[in-house]
Symmetry: C2
Subunit: 461 residues, 2 copies
């Protein structure tokens, strides 16, 4: 390798860091549909939502007109401990693939939670503290969100109770220990601590849990506990708002080096990373400016965008949450436990769902996990960083696109979100290495079971 | 918190990164004593060392006159994937401690190996590849060095066989999985694969291993295998040379913000981090310029500098290595398995030993592990990053010094090395949290057993 003009890592100065989040809803031609009260079928009011989320977050959740929302100074200061995150030029990956494509990734894993989740966790904890609340509840799957919220609550001195999807907790005992080090209490879900959990266990004592179930438990506890609210790490409008910092930094960094992306790729589970990464670039498209080709990548085992339906559905298994209009596999859909690493959610952010439905996200692509781990292992060896399985979905598609460029000779600029690190996913890496990892693709019959569970709302869908 | 003048993180530009390593031996008034052949009692020749290490590294090992040694372009390029590492201003820790001290740390944990070890690993793998070798062997304790060398060998396509201290391997199964993902073969030591290992197991089948034993096994295999050499992650002169990049970057970053350190603190096991961090600042002292007060921190359970003796000793348990003049507890010394997290080595880098013996390192301090984990947990909560137990030794002393400043009102500038992250040390964090962690301090009788094992060399010591 010889000296390169563009550095391997592009960092912003502290003074170049965003001071406002970008609210893409303000620019959307068709706004995401409002959350509905499942009892009345009417849009959730701020008062109703205020029982679940703290007040400022309710405001952000409902605000689809304010384009820029200031980041409070305390949150900006916390961001400075682990941000700006680097935009990395993947010179070594390009060389390995022998591609003329220029590959960049925005790396969000350089913090102890190991992912971008901290961007929203610290905001949610801050607003809870400002409101004088004393505790939060949440759910976690792979553990990144739970760890992030534990860090945020530990920082602001709030109590936190995490309901962790049972099969993930058992695959990753050390994730629990990390959260506890930050002073969180961690309970495996389904648990006997909530009515929802007890009902599920009574029917099926061996239930290995799902994000949807853990959400039900966390919401139940938050709404029945004094001074407590619920926090969610994805799907919600407020979360995508906070995560817009990923895209804002990425855009500023690319502008600094004078590079315009042709393809922008993010993995999508509930949508927090993808929504944050693409937000300001989508803003360009909505303003009629040049924008990259947007690709959402999801696991073939949980194909929400590629095989789901766009409908109002519950966000959880226990059906205690409001209804959201989104791409969904049905709240009863639980991906095979063989599926490793996140992106297991049955639904998708209403913002992203609407954008995809309206053709503003260009493509959704489902990938099988052995191909994902093949990409992850190669990436680790040539770029150094061991990626989270979730992030590796984006790596897989970035590599596929770069290999297409190799065939066509196109020098496309490919940018993807590397959301986190896979240090707690070694059981899955070992399974891949040992050849015991299997791909799971639900049949149409499997999906039909989930779809049957979606409520049919008179006059609405 | 209000806007601060000095940013939270100081990054160098790529163009400011060091292009040469600094060889502190060139400036030492009394050079570290040469390695001796245990058979002849004579200094090891380049030819003798060439059976163990690759040629260029032998040259670096023996060179105590060249002040600056160029970093090959390939290594500079690899460094750019994860360096420069940030120098972080610990604003949140200062606020938590309510200290007038200004605290900075150089954070080396932002790479998949989780520590500074990669700085030397990539150099050692590069020179091996350049010489046309096909494989390396090494040992690892906590696993950071093994992971780093696995990454480096994976990058350059060399085979690697890691002998991992058995009790560490069993405490940290996922460390092994990470190394395997980078294509290394990992064997628990003592093993039946070497004569040294078999002899130890014959005497004591339940032996839980030590770095010293693992070194013996790795050296035996390297010297008896075609195209293979041995790599060591600490102690050696060559390793301290490569690690000087830590101190060089730290010095440049401090100069950029116009700050002069009063106290410089590093944890010390074999000495790689401390030696690298202090090197250029020590160069200032040796040139008669202003320099900080140097503190080496070690575990009370393995008190090499504070309670060891300065003598020629073997670097390994099996006594297959050359003799090094160093502070040592005797090659037979094995710290209690209760001791968590690295810094378990019986000896200390000859460079640092000489500097300490000559009063050029101002102080060595031994700390107990519960106090170390108390500091680690506090640091994690206020600064975000979950530190490696090794690094937390330095945090403990930095906090102690900052608390002294609180009493005296002095605004000292305290800089310490945060060598890595503790994601694979959660069992120890849990033990601390559950109150089951115990402190172990060897008695004088315990130490006497190790000392009795140190060779008495006629006419030398």
């Amino acid at each position: 390798m010889t000296e390169k003009k563009i550095p391997y890592k592009i960092y912003l100065e502290e003074s170049e860091m965003p001071r406002t989040w970008y609210n893409v809803r303000a620019d959307m031609p068709i706004k995401p549909a409002p959350l509905l009260n499942p009892g009345t079928g009417k849009p959730m009011t701020a008062e109703e939502l205020g029982g679940v989320f703290c007040d400022e977050l309710v405001k952000q959740e409902l605000d689809d007109t304010t384009r820029e929302i200031p980041i409070p100074q305390e949150i900006q200061d916390f961001y400075k401990m682990y941000r700006p995150s680097p935009l990395v030029r993947a010179y070594c990956l390009e060389e390995k693939l022998q591609t003329p494509a220029k590959i960049y990734y925005k790396f969000e894993g350089n913090n102890t939670s190991g992912s971008h989740k901290l961007n929203s966790a610290i905001a949610q904890a801050y607003y809870a503290k400002e409101q004088g609340l004393t505790s939060l509840t949440t759910e976690t799957g792979a553990g990144q969100w739970g760890t992030a919220l534990a860090m945020a609550c530990g920082f602001f001195g709030l109590d936190l109770h995490v309901f962790m999807v049972k099969c993930s907790a058992q695959q990753k005992p050390y994730r629990k220990a990390v959260m506890e080090t930050y002073n969180a209490r961690v309970t495996e879900s389904p648990s006997a601590e909530t009515a929802v959990g007890r009902a599920i266990l009574a029917k099926d004592p061996d239930n290995t849990g799902s994000l949807g179930t853990a959400i039900s438990e966390a919401v139940e506890e938050a709404t029945s506990t004094e001074g407590c609210r619920y926090a969610l790490g994805s799907v919600l409008n407020q979360v995508l708002l906070h995560q817009s910092i990923i895209g804002l930094e990425t855009k500023t960094a690319l502008e600094k080096i004078g590079v315009e992306p042709d393809i922008l790729i993010g993995c999508a589970g509930g949508g927090s990373n993808l929504g944050g990464l693409i937000a300001p670039f989508m803003g360009d498209r909505l303003a009629g400016k040049r924008a990259p080709y947007f690709i959402a990548v999801e696991p073939a085992s949980c194909p929400t965008l590629t095989r789901g339906t766009f409908a109002y559905d519950f966000c959880d298994v226990g059906k205690v949450t409001p209804l959201a209009k989104m791409y969904t596999l049905g709240s009863g859909f639980i991906p095979s436990p063989n599926h490793a690493g996140g992106l297991r959610y049955h639904g998708m952010s209403p913002v992203l769902s609407q954008l995809y439905h309206d053709g503003l996200i260009d493509e959704a692509r489902a990938v099988e996990q052995t191909r994902v781990f093949e990409a992850a292992t190669l990436f680790a060896r040539v770029e150094g960083t061991l990626p989270a399985p979730e992030s590796a979905h984006a790596i897989r598609v970035a590599m596929d696109e770069a290999l297409k460029c190799k065939e066509t000779g196109e020098e496309k600029v490919i940018v993807f979100g590397l959301t986190g690190t896979g240090y707690f996913d070694m059981a899955a890496y070992s399974a891949f290495r040992n050849g015991t990892m299997v791909d799971y693709i639900p049949t149409d019959e499997d999906l039909a079971v989930g779809f049957a569970n979606i409520p049919h709302l008179e006059g609405i869908q």
